[in-house]
């Protein structure tokens, strides 16, 4: 199964990510976003960040998840390459996410950046759940 695919967009980067479950699709979306910035295949995960979030729906949760990763990338200077979403669960009116992201310290001598992702937008945002699996659709500001 393909993890993600990029869609042409004039100013920004847009992609779809796939998974058998929402957890898998969310993890693949994070992978797709970091691959806009840098080839993550050469990154050796040494640092782990644990993340817990809550949002009123899956779409907001997806934006919050990716935004949190961008925040941690910038302030902790960690380039993430590996993502695991443990669980996405509904509790009352809110959706809860728990996950971890792994990466290595930013090293400008080693890491060759492509396009910097500045932020995650709500434009053309979608979380689609079918019997085949879950597809998410995201546009990021670059």
């Amino acid at each position: 199964m393909k993890k993600y695919e990029y869609i042409e967009h004039t100013a920004d980067a847009r992609f779809k990510a796939f998974g058998k479950t929402a957890e898998e699709a969310f993890a693949n979306a994070a992978q797709a976003m970091f691959n806009v910035m840098i080839d993550t295949s050469g990154i050796n995960p040494q640092i782990t960040e644990y993340i817990e979030l809550q949002a009123p729906d899956l779409e907001n949760l997806l934006v919050d998840w990716l935004s949190e990763l961008l925040y941690l990338f910038e302030v902790n200077m960690v380039v993430f390459s590996s993502f695991e979403v443990f669980a996405i669960e509904k509790e009352g009116d809110e959706y809860l996410l728990s996950a971890k992201a792994e990466g290595e310290p930013l090293d400008l001598k080693k890491h060759i950046f492509d396009t910097e992702v500045k932020a995650v937008t709500y434009n053309d945002l979608g979380v689609q759940i079918t019997s085949q699996g879950v597809t998410v659709r995201i546009t990021v500001d670059t």
Partner: protein, 493 residues
Amino acid sequence: MKRGFDRMDTEGPEIEGLERIDNDIWQIPTGYKPGMRVPGRIYLSDKLFTNLEKEAVDQVANVATLPGIQKFSMAMPDAHVGYGFPIGGVAAFDAEEGVISPGGVGFDINCGVRLIRSNLEKSDVDGKVNDLLDSLFKAVPSGVGSKSRIRASESELEAIFTNGSRWAVEQGYGVEADLTHCEGEGCIEGGDPAQVSAKARKRGRPQLGTLGSGNHFLELQYVDEIYDPVAAEAFNLKQGQLTFMVHCGSRGAGHQVCTDHLRHLTRAVQKYKIDLPDKQLACAPAQSEEAQAYFGAMASAANYAWTNRQIIMHHCREVFEQQMKMDSDELGLDLVYDVAHNVAKLEEHNVNGGKKQVYVHRKGATRAFPAGHPDVPQAYRDVGQPVLIPGSMGTPSYVLCGKQAAMDVSFGSACHGAGRVMSRSGAKRTFRGEQIQKDLSGQGISVKAAHPSVIAEEAPGVYKSSSEVVDVVHRLGIAGKVAKLMPLGVVKG
């Protein structure tokens, strides 16, 4: 598409419902999309029309559905598809009955441009351009992960969020005249640091005086042509003169402010029962707690951006003094003007024969106030506000001055740049950074970049022609051409 206007047949996209109502004016009738409260207007020439994307037209129409919108939802000639508002989008909302939306400002709050003049001529830097670029590159951290030498304390951040450029000048980064030659004197009133999250502060603290990446740049230029000698004299610009341009914004602090408040506002939308065609247009009634919280945070980020450009200019002035071995009086590196092109402002405009307070959202659009307007600096009051339009890498930039028609047709707004026509990934498939660098070098333009891929992404061919964009604004009488600036050397993030 209706072609009611008598002119040569126009090549371009077939967009059902779009009407041409004048040479450079295309109208989107309210029937184009359910819920439109006012028509849309896109200002385009024949040539620019050929690059118009249907999704950008849809985005102009989406903005027209927002409560309290006045007259038209507009897009400037550099319009292209964005998220929420299109890039080049302008809309004004009644300050009482309307809304405020972060989607009309964008993530890079107060991304903007400043232009610095000099007493030097182009020939004075012959053979020195590469050394100057190298030194500028060192003085102004650029690219992903770049950190400033300055670490703002918590109380300093508060002062920056509240007072903008004035804080920088008080700390010795510049002179009083820098403030009087800047939009709003480098500050939006109403900056409310209490609305800026701990996350935004954490991102903002180490980034003062940094350029960022993407389309941000420092550019060494010269005045290639003067169109309006009277305005040029007021702006202290003359043929052959060396000028310098800075393009950047509020960095991580601004991105985080937008992210945080969009998050809150996507929830407020349900509370206030606002129907949105695009979630990125999340908004709240202008006087609501949520909208005013965003406005206070947005103003804070805008003030951070002006401080950032002020500090960058100061560091660049030091580089010129060292490299040219001249003092500041000899160099005469005075700020001509600084404009914001991603911002929302509370302004007074004439609407349907009466004066009205409105929140003007400009997303990839520049304020363009005419002669006589009280918000135009005293020195330029007789000619109009300088409007700074950067070109893409290697292409001309323009200085214009705001004209009366801007108040009538665009809530005192003009275009902001060239406008992309090709995606970044498309650009990287089409162009190679080294080749672009070589081609530009052949034209006498040096380029230095933190990330080589940026050179391909920002290749001149991925943008519309800045000249074509500026000509539309000039013909419509929104802003008049004053001077053309040609690049000599560029530092890219």
